[in-house]
């Protein structure tokens, strides 16, 4: 995948398939400390030890366990090639936490890409999931809460095309660089 935001979308979709109702997406980018990290924490059905060990192995997954097949393996390879790594913590019945880190300035680090698009696209098909998104970027902090946004819209759904356009705008972070 060419963008980190596509990996983030992939993990969010895993969380959805795992039946999560609450998801926290936390991202920190710091040029000064030369680090880019993200965490995705969900309250889905989680994985046992055996499954967790297989989660990053693309060849050990079967069709039934496909929900954590190729995606995490690719992310792990990318993170490790960029001076970082991938950490998976999961507890059956409680949820899963995925943490990835990268050296910010590493030449092979994929760009973040269209993160607002990834989050927006995820939310379109998942009305009932409460997503909180916290992004710290070079000292600035950005916070988004899907429940609060929908409450403001007074019962409309993200499916409403104009509300969706507004959602994408709201997800844009100002400090682009």
């Amino acid at each position: 995948m060419e963008e980190l935001s596509l990996h983030i979308l992939d993990i969010l979709e895993n969380a959805r398939e795992a039946g999560a109702t609450k998801i926290l997406l936390w991202i920190r980018e710091s040029r000064q400390e030369d680090v880019l990290k993200f965490k995705i924490i969900d309250n889905g059905r989680g994985m046992g030890k055996e499954m967790l060990q297989k989660a990053c192995d693309p060849f050990a997954t079967t069709r039934r366990t496909r929900k954590v097949g190729l995606g995490l393996a690719m992310l792990k390879a990318t993170a490790e090639a960029c001076g970082g790594g991938l950490r998976l913590v999961s507890c059956p019945g409680k949820g899963t936490r995925v943490e990835a880190s990268f050296q910010y300035s590493h030449v092979d680090r994929p760009p973040m890409g269209n993160l607002a698009g990834s989050i927006g696209v995820f939310l379109v098909g998942t009305q009932s999931i409460h997503l909180r998104y916290i992004h710290r970027k070079n000292g600035k902090r950005f916070v988004f809460d899907s429940k609060a946004f929908l409450k403001q819209a007074g019962g409309l759904s993200f499916q409403e095309p104009r509300l969706f356009a507004l959602l994408l705008n709201s997800l844009e972070i100002e400090d682009k660089d």
């Binding site: 496909r66 696209v121 098909g125 403001q152 819209a153 409309l156 499916q159 409403e160 509300l163 507004l166």
Partner: protein, 118 residues
């Protein structure tokens, strides 16, 4: 963050237009959003669909997602079901094809046969 007035204006207008339509009367668009779909460009497909629906003011189309359905080589996959005329599945979609499918199929009811998955 979006302004409250803006959101409430959209709400008022949308509720007005929605009328009495029931869920089963709605056109449904389902996009494959497994790892295979995402890697093949499903995100851009959904963004294009939402953009096109906004431009055409199509408010009663339900857009949703599904995981991998085992046809990874055909991703991005887009399934369109129109009440009364069944389901069709489009494969190897991209933003340009999406715009045409919405114009020709969703709006005018004629499937774009060359992109259908057999």
């Amino acid at each position: 963050m979006a302004s409250l007035e803006e959101l409430q204006k959209i709400k008022a207008e949308t509720l007005e237009k929605m009328g009495v339509r029931e869920a089963q009367d709605k056109i449904k668009i389902v996009v494959g959003m497994g790892t295979c779909g995402i890697a093949a460009g499903a995100r851009e497909v959904v963004l294009t669909i939402m953009d096109e629906l906004a431009k055409r003011k199509l408010n009663d189309v339900v857009v949703s997602q599904t995981g991998c359905i085992g046809m990874c080589a055909q991703e991005p996959l887009v399934e369109i079901s129109i009440p009364g005329s069944g389901k069709v599945l489009y494969g190897k979609m991209d933003p340009m094809k999406c715009r045409q499918v919405i114009a020709q199929h969703v709006v005018n009811g004629i499937p774009v046969s060359e992109w259908l998955v057999k």
